[in-house]
Amino acid sequence: MNLDQFKVAPPSVDWITLLPVILVASTGLVALLIEMFRPKQTNVAIIWTSLIGLGVAAGSLILQMGQPSGDTFAGMALRDPASLVLQLVLVGVCFFTFFFSESYLRERRIPFGEFYPLALWSTAGGMIMVSTENLLMLFIGLEVLSISLYVMAGMARQESKSEESAIKYFLLGAFASAFLLYGIALVYGATGSLHLDQIARAYALNDGLTEKLLIFGVGFMLVGLGFKAALVPFHQWAPDVYQGAPTNVTGFMAAAAKVAAIGALYRVLSGAVDLSGTWMPLLIIIAILTMTIPNLIACQQKNVKRILGYSSIANAGYILVGLLAHLQSPDKIGIETTVFFLVSYALVTIGMFALLTLNARDGKEGTELSDFYGLWNRHPLAAGLMVLFVASLIGIPITGGFFAKLGIFNDAVNAGLTLLAIVLAINSAISCYYYLGIVRAAFVAEETRPQPLGSTMPPGLRFTGIACAVGVLGISFFLTPIQAYLSGKDPNAWTNPPATASTGPSENLSSSTTNPSPDPDPDQDPALTNPGEAPPDQPPADQPPVAEPDEQSPQESSGEAAGESEGTGPAANPAPSR
């Protein structure tokens, strides 16, 4: 038997694309080593190492912005605006979580140094999920993310609630993973490849069996990812787990897992967009349920973490609306509104949960609404920040949440999903009730305890709160520049996932897809090029833009303030506006 036929040329690797994940994961390793040798009293060294690692990872992500999209390592990893921004969000979530975690964990008497490496790996898992179109990588990323989260959720071992939430999350998560894996297997069976863009090619064969396999494969994957993103009816773990897990973990989970899951869902659905006739009605129903049901239940809740758990489910519904609008008419509506929503959501979530940790003291923690009575008198800053975050969650103008919701609403209307837009609006109104309940607790109601919970506001927490608040206000201030970057001034970068050039429909396990991203062939695949996309901090000479300005869609021409862009911001884009 001649084994040489199976020899595979090593794939070319664009290490820069992989660098952020490698950085975050290896920071986790370093943090674990420090944990082994640290003096038992303090986690400071771990935290600073982690923060530096995350900072460098964020830097490497930011520096990549503006470089051409493409995938590397045989299609295992991908770089495009969505992946970069979502990875950046995940890194940011982890960063801010670390800032307020230490004081909280000490107050709760669960000062495990292992928390930091686990969170880092979890982040790495999420980053892998959002930056791949390979189903195997997606699954592994999801497992890295999830298993770390299971452990972190059960970190407060003295408490049965924490353990309960961990075991619940674990069992149901394993169940969901099985669905996902089965779906991946079916898709692999239908296409002979794990790469998502093969779905479209297999579908184009118009073969009855393949089509059925694909439909079921995507269906199973929907269930699995729906669980991670907590879509109704796969949401029931969320409130219990959110309530039981330590608050910093909940914040991290609510932000990171949601971002990663939605990112993965986006990849899968846009890979399977040709089949949208089958799953679109289904997802519309799911979106309606996901927006409505948790909002109704949340009105009855008395525990802030639980309320926020339901709120995060409802937010997943809003995000799903944006996603569906994009998938309904991909050439008209970009993904940037959805990503913007995710950014704003992540900021608010981290900030909000950070503020909740204020109520921890001496191993105990109060997260009932009544525990926040009189917060205004105890911590005016915290109460003020809370109002801001709640305002963003409700969607009050000037906060990021307002523009995010408005953008999604607008997209839904433009995509013809008016029903979803209406349901979204109604649900925003309903959600005011319980959100304002939180404000009421913090401001109006009187302190009931003789000795209030929580003492001072630790500096890390203060920093997190203020930074998130600045972010929430700031992103609304830089709404258009952000969206301009996200839409890449080249809508193709979003609507057509950058396809690999050399893969054929008969690809099997041993065939290789090598497409080094640095030298895309503009003649073959215009989607790989980003004409004129160079943020101001990036010297445009770095990557000479491939001159194909005629490929730009109508979005492009409307993206410019007519003739007024003599400023210094991204408006001064080299690409002409018409």
Binding site: L3, E114, W121, M137, V151, M155, G363
Partner: protein, 170 residues
């Protein structure tokens, strides 16, 4: 009958008998041991089909890891020769039987009347799925996934230690 067929019949017979044994034996430990036999025989079946790597994996993962875990659990719980599970009259055996027959029917139906095209796909090239071939692929195109899987295992180890280690004095 060719030697291959004879080998298959012997192995299949042992597999079927051991499978019945898993359900029929009262002692959990014996059940588990018979299951080990079943796993090994399955691995041999794979070998006889030329799927060496699959066979090795079967032994490593199922017979090695999973069965050891089973036996640990059984011994830790000290179940012994209890009959309680069987004596209890409820619907579980019935449901189990129905599910089993259903699965059997499903597989059998695919053998008799397959949904997809039958026998048209050409057999894999010789050496396909061999350790060497998989190795080539695994350490080239799938190296990134492989590395991340190592992180996954590390997470599992760290996590289990974190959750299981000695309680802190508070």
């Amino acid at each position: 009958m060719t030697s291959a067929q004879i080998t298959f019949l012997i192995l299949a017979g042992i597999a079927a008998i051991s499978a019945i044994g898993v359900v029929a034996l009262n002692s959990p430990v014996r059940s588990a041991l018979v299951l080990v036999v079943n796993f090994f025989v399955l691995a041999f079946l794979y070998f006889s089909l030329g799927a060496q790597l699959l066979g090795i994996t079967q032994i490593l993962v199922y017979a090695g890891a999973i069965m050891v875990l089973f036996l640990f659990v059984i011994m830790l719980l000290n179940l012994g020769n209890t009959n309680s599970a069987i004596q209890k009259k409820d619907g579980k055996p019935l449901i189990g039987i129905i599910c089993g027959i259903g699965l059997f029917g499903l597989i059998a139906s695919q053998i008799i009347l397959p949904m997809g095209p039958r026998g048209q796909t050409a057999g894999a090239a010789p050496g396909y799925g061999s350790p060497q071939a998989v190795g080539y692929t695994l350490f080239t195109n799938y190296a990134w996934a492989f590395e991340i899987t190592s992180i996954l295992l590390l997470v599992g180890i760290v996590g289990s230690i974190l959750l299981a280690k000695r309680r802190l004095k508070s």
